[in-house]
Amino acid sequence: MVTRGYPVAAMGRYALLVFAAVVMLFPLAWMFRVAFMLPGDSLGLGALAAASWTVQNFRDLFTQAGLGRALFNSVLVGTVVTLGNIAFCFMAAYGLARYRLITHKLLFGAVLIVLMIPAHIVIIPLYLICLKAGIYDSYWALILPWLVNPIGIFLVKQYIDSMPVAMEEAARVDGAGELRIIFGVVMPLCKPALAVLAIQVFFTNWNSFLFPFILTSRESLRTLPVALAMYQGHQAIDWPHLMAGSSVAVLPILIVFLFTQRHIVSGITAGAIKQ
């Protein structure tokens, strides 16, 4: 489509765009700015220009507030969960796509039903199950339930469905074993779908609060969002430190987003719209 050349309309459009962009970006910009202020600085209207710039808050977080530990937990849990999803969703998707399983229809039906069931249903039972299985308040509780996800299996299965079987047959003729074909031939070809899955899973896990919060109680097991929410909880709010911690939680997401924008967008729209 060609933009028509009405200058007034174009200017109006840009004015709207700029206004919207300011509204959308201001809170995040504000977070980064406050992160560099000294705890005593005023947060009032004129404060932005007058206030100090310091990296002390970041230093404090890692030395005093246990944020280093939370960052470590978030990275560890996020990495393991992402790798687990790649492996398990790929394997299951391949099984569904290439073998006519007896359980095929059953499994797919179950996945669909649970997809439609809101997550809040499992808050209580998951808590109880983790408690009874003895994994409450351990890394297992942060990792095990999240090793698979229903969207992932759809994403990868659709991708495999669209791939010709010829490649696998050729490999089979060449004498490659099943494992070799699945992990050596098919999996590398699924990289685009697996990348989308990995980004989605990592982002979701990195930002998630509710389940890491209810399934652990020890301070040493807190992930970043939990640590931030708790930090705010038990003292008079110290905004510069809190915003510094928030910045640490947001920065990796921002960086990954800048480099993988296309994958993120395709991940979101893949679930929404099929042409």
Binding site: P27, W30, Y99, I214, L228, A229, M243, V265
Partner: protein, 288 residues
Amino acid sequence: MRARYAGLVLSSPWTVTFALFWAFPVLYSLAMSFTDYGLLSGASNWIGLPNYQELFADPDFLGALKNTFVFVLGTIPVTTVLALAMALLVNRQFRGRAFFRSAFFLPSITSMVVIALVFTNLLSRGGYIALLAEMAGFSPPEHGFLYSDSTALYAIMAMDVWMSVGYYMLIFLAGLKSIPDELYEAAEIAGAGPVRTFFSVTLPLLRPVALFVIVINSIKSFQVFVEIFVMTKGKFDTSTGVYFIYEQGLTTAFRLGYASAAAYVLFVIIGLFSIPQFLLMRRRSTAW
């Protein structure tokens, strides 16, 4: 035959994990909702319906339900309309389009906890939003927007719109892309102006997408929790369905059976709300 086993073996890690941590808990909590299971009392007797009866006489639960409905019915139309407007605004080719798209989308990939913390600051007494409101001639509540029964929930709702609008903008953009250019050309040849084109071409063809946006957004909004927990802890008339479940089940009383019943009531409400929309969607599009 070997192949069949291979398939089963391959899908078993996924299936077992899924069954243990997601499918089983869904049924387990339904069973629990008919018991008086309490973690502290240790009792677990099948009692039937009393949990459900108690819920509908519990003013805290009814208040939480009311707030949930206010939240859903208040945010969905605003989010949907704004997301569509934004999508239309950045759909055409123009200089800086990628920047504006990213700017609008950015809030929806950041952590809810972080966003809630930032807005707690902006909404507090003397915070930016309070100052802006003052400049616009409104007087904010004495202790800030989050410390007042009359504004706290609405402030959180506004934040929710701000946070999620970019995500739905993306979905609308994908929908806009799927509308064939020929239709716009035909509309132009027929002499339709931009407004007419929007209502006769764009909007009808976007119906399935809009429906999808409304359904997923409402399912998500019915479960609002993190922002409530971080910003108000359910005080100032902001408790919602999931917050009630958390409070009953996982704080002082640990009434797991009662909380499970609340979860199922909320589930049924979400179902009543979204199943008709799902059916409508199924007829009109191929989503899923």
